[in-house]
Symmetry: C2
Subunit: 163 residues, 2 copies
DNA sequence: ATCGCTGCAAAAGTTTTGCAGTCGC
DNA sequence: GCGACTGCAAAACTTTTGCAGCGAT
């Protein structure tokens, strides 16, 4: 019944869990698989849907508990993009951050190198050690900037595409 | 019945609303007053409680709708600090950002000057115009760094003081 | 065999929405 | 008076939690 996933990444995930002395369960493997397959910026709900295709008995509460665990041991990063559901991504790739467009909701990844100087200064000035992940900058992306350039003084565009 | 607030800032808030061609209602004035009185990083719930002391009939839904409006016209900034309820603050003070400690939950304000260079570079490299507010960096604050400095290899400190 | 993990169901917490009445302009 | 705004109540969503049973080690 406990059908474990069977992909190349599978063994690596098992290994990582084992090395952290965490129990290797199909649910955890499937969550890691889903994060792999879906890429970054994945909601718990999305992981749920993806996993359910291979393991229908999976439960959302388990997804949350698993993500919580994986975040706490540093295998997964929780990224908050300003509303709705939180998103998650595997740690291990190149560190990066997020540019969140408040018009169209697009999330662009921002190389960590650009933030290195800032992090260092924040550490010096505030004694605050910022992550090399997790940072989100909100603003307007290139596409929306171009599209909205002419319209500068229009109010009443309130409840449009927010998120 | 419609007791309007009576503080020095009151007139200024009325004026700002009027200038934006928005209706001046006691609810809106009270929300602005609350943001003034409570300072930054205020949740809708907190605004609700503060306002209710002077205007018991206020409704949470109204608070949300009002905040939504004020954010959309730029009078208020919505700051997301990674979970629970969103927080709000008046725009108009010196632009600043937020250092969110993931251990103790403390939010420190970060001067905008430190981010100017980053914003400029993001604009050049990505065509992305970031706000001069709203940015949140997650990490560990000075106090918690000091406290946790000795403990480096302890796992199982999972579900402690998170938020 | 043990102890942690999971499924289920229910609760908690935040935010949104429909509708009817009210009030600012 | 008109149309926007508000209160109330209910719904929609995301996330957490208690408990009993199951399963990884």
């Amino acid at each position: 019944m406990t059908t474990t996933p069977n992909t190349p990444a599978h063994a690596a995930h098992s290994e990582r869990l084992r090395r952290l002395r965490l129990r290797v369960t199909p649910q955890r493997l499937f969550v890691l698989e889903a994060l792999d397959a879906l890429g970054g910026h994945v909601t718990a709900e999305a992981i749920m849907r993806w996993t359910a295709r291979h393991y229908p008995a999976i439960n959302l509460a388990t997804i949350y508990r698993t993500l919580d665990l994986l975040v706490s041991v540093g295998l997964v990063a929780q990224t908050d993009l300003g509303g709705g559901a939180a998103t998650f991504e595997l740690v291990g790739d190149v560190p990066h951050h997020h540019l969140v467009c408040e018009r169209c909701g697009t999330v662009t990844e921002l190389d960590d190198a650009l933030l290195a100087a800032l992090r260092e200064q924040v550490l010096r000035s505030y004694g605050f050690r910022a992550h090399s992940r997790h940072i989100a900058l909100f603003g307007i992306c290139r596409g929306c900037l171009a599209a909205e350039a002419p319209a500068l003084l229009d109010r009443d565009t309130h409840h449009e595409h927010t998120r």
